[in-house]
Amino acid sequence: MATIADDLRPLHHPKSWIGKYVWSQDHKVIALQYAGTAISVGIIALVLSFMMRLQLGFPGRFHFIQPENYLQFVTLHGMIMVVYLLTALLLGGFGNYLIPLMVGARDMVFPFVNMLSYWFYLLSVIVLLSSIFVPGGPTGGGWTLYPPQTITGGTPGSNWGIILMMVSLAIFIAAFTMGGLNYVTTVLQARTKGMTLMRMPCSVWGIFVASIMGLLAFPALFVAAVMTILDAVAGTSFFVPQIVSMGKLTQHVGGSPILYQHLFWFFGHPEVYIVALPAFGIVSDLISVHARKNIFGYRMMVWAIIIIGALSFFVWAHHMYVSGMNPYFGFFFATSTLIIAIPTAIKVYNWLLTLWRGDIHLRVPMLFAIAFLFTFIHGGLSGLFLGNVSVDVPLSDTFFVVGHFHMVMGVSPILVIFGAIYHWYPKITGRMWNETLARAHFWVTFLGAYAIFMPMHYIGILGVPRRYYALGETAFIPPSVHYVNMGITIAAGIVFAAQFLFFYNMIWSYFRGPKADPNPWGGASLEWQTPDTPPTHGNWGPRLPTVYRWAYDYSVPGAAHDFIPQNEPPGAAGSRAPA
């Protein structure tokens, strides 16, 4: 197994600009292509979310937002954020960049397939965005795309929009499969000498397990997409029973809308953890590096990732407690859902215990990690309400759900992504970002996001339904709800604007930032030990590094420095070798 890691075949460095930056097979360039595309499409999702907030905060004030548009914004925003931004950025972006560097490989094991993965991803994004320009516009069926609604009248985009959405998802899944197979194979086959599985940084563990989960979960969405397309264009009835749509009997007969929901959530719930696990892994490394302390309970942390990954395939129907499925399923899925909270809680304890007795440097990446802990604790706990079957009944399809999932799988992973970008930016670009702008960006984003999503939990407990274009006159909704909606919209506008501090900082620093130290934070893991910064094609110069220790030798008693790089041999300059 070790031979592949020490690949002796000569590397063919690309000679032309196009070979280097466009049709590149270098994992680092592909990572940046993935990240650049994901963030660009994410900006579209950000704009869409702000338009939704305009409608909710000031109903009727903006005439260009009609009910159809509102539902289209909801749908595109949700799908882009979950799939085209978070999944693509965390696995395609961070996965591509970090795996080979962190396990000591020259590249992914299948560089050509890796390149194809990106171009398929880009194609899926183009198909998705093209749905904005077809007759009827993009689908407005909600990001869950439940039939029969998505393919029958009364829903925007029920002709063209839904088909393009499903085609785009199918292409994305092809892209993910190529990428995911690469990540998994690279972790299993291309680790350098001495890099045992239990010496890998938590980031790699999170990305590795998430990739396996993606390979198992995405096929369910793929078949759901194909079956929906067939129902829409070929006259099949997988998901559509006999119905009267807009006063006309359709030709469908015998299909099951709930079958679609099972397929969707069999993908959809693992998907939550496909996004969360890489974030869990990355944040473990941010906390450990900036607290100058090993991640507390590393083995437990790795096992928790694996257990969460496995259990997440047995909880999907907690999204369907009031869907009309056999209600007795509720007992099983409530139990399995609440059990998954135990390994998740262990992760939180271990992050906090990593900070305990640490030497905490409150640099920007650490601030984002701390903010993540706060929002994740909040979002994780509110998930217990929704997982606990009978408590879910009054809360389902209210703003409580919106507040919960934004806190736990929107704000939390995005805070980690920001922290991670600030953390690895000096390695990726060789430059350092501006501290003042970064801190301003942090404070506005963290406090603003909490101001947006925290009150939503309470108006959800009151019973305010989600996916409503306008609340209208409803006896149980007091005027104060309209004021809080206005306040949330204003907070959203401020957070929206603050993101330009980030973009400006990243772009300005790339050209004008001061030259960065190759290892500015004193990181022990391999990516900080590359001979060049930014790392060049092939990563490691003539010889691959050899690993002698885990990734967390921080503040080892008796060592000269407060970290020992993974590739430092035992007994070398001033370090004592822990096992």
Binding site: G154, F296, M300, P327, N388, L395, P557
Partner: protein
């Protein structure tokens, strides 16, 4: 350092928000107090965890912030501590799950004496059907829907003949009598949602879904649709009026049966006559 203070302040702020904000559950108008109890138990356990974990974090950041010369403690793991924390978490989880599952057990157990009421959903309005004197709803399917037969009832099914058709969005229910809400949709997914009742359930075309409740408060409540059903989703409204037995009887008396409606429609008269003459064509249920 500031971040430690901010985290502590956010915890305090969240608690104040909880106590001072005007948004909380609507006054309960059904038997589902057990759902409210499970929610409040969950809230308490989660609040303790939220406060304890975040204050611990704030304290840690404050106490172990970097100062010149400070160095972190080296402790890879502490399996005794981890085991103890796992146990405490499991207890907290069990404390939430138990009342949740007990309430769910009630939720899935419809009382034998519950009166059946059918809610029909279509884009974007509600209508209702009651089983009539025989206590049984007649069969129905979308293929039979016509202008005269908006519910798609089978005219050959004698159980359907006495069904009361409430083709407006206002439903009346007697107070303190258990009701089994039977739900059907003609087109897409909907969800019968009355916040004050707590209970809700999706309407799924092709199948019949249900839930049950006992209204305990007289009054008029909004019915909303809680499952996205298209552009008119937010306007799919109805009203449920919970009243005493006498008023309910009176309202019941004002409703028309399916048989009466078919008799009014010319075509229906002949078909009904044919069905009466030929009992073998009757559909058993």
């Amino acid at each position: 350092m500031i971040v430690a203070i901010v985290i502590a302040a956010l915890v305090l702020g969240s608690l104040l928000f909880h106590w001072l904000s005007p948004w909380w559950m609507t006054p309960l108008a059904s038997n589902w107090g057990s759902i409210d109890t499970a929610l409040i138990i969950t809230m308490w356990i989660c609040a303790v965890a939220f406060v304890a974990l975040n204050l611990f974090m704030a304290l840690t950041i404050w106490r172990y912030r970097h100062r010149p010369g400070s160095r972190a403690h080296y402790e890879p793991e502490n399996s005794r501590l981890e085991k103890r924390l796992t146990l405490w978490t499991a207890l907290g989880i069990a404390g939430m799950l138990a009342p949740g599952l007990l309430a769910w057990n009630q939720y899935v157990t419809v009382p034998a004496d519950a009166a059946v009421v059918e809610a029909n959903g279509e884009q974007w309005r509600w209508s209702f059907r009651l089983p009539g004197r025989d206590g049984v709803l007649g069969t129905a399917e979308p293929a039979r829907i016509t202008a005269d037969n908006a519910f798609g009832l089978n005219p050959d099914d004698p159980y359907g003949r006495d069904d009361l058709i409430v083709d407006t969005a206002e439903l009346h229910l007697p107070v303190n009598r258990p009701v089994k809400m039977v739900l059907r949709s003609k087109d897409v997914l909907h969800d019968f949602y009355v916040p004050e009742f707590r209970a809700k359930m999706d309407l799924v075309p092709g199948i019949v879904t249900y839930f049950w409740l006992t209204p305990t408060q007289k009054g008029s409540f909004d019915i909303l649709c809680a499952e996205l059903c298209g552009t008119g989703h937010s306007q799919m409204r109805g009203t449920v009026v919970v009243e005493d037995e006498a008023s309910y009887r009176k309202w019941l008396g004002d409703q028309m049966t399916f048989g009466q409606m078919m008799a009014q429609a010319g075509e229906g008269r002949t078909r009904l006559a044919r069905a009466d003459a030929n009992p073998s064509k009757r559909v058993a249920r």
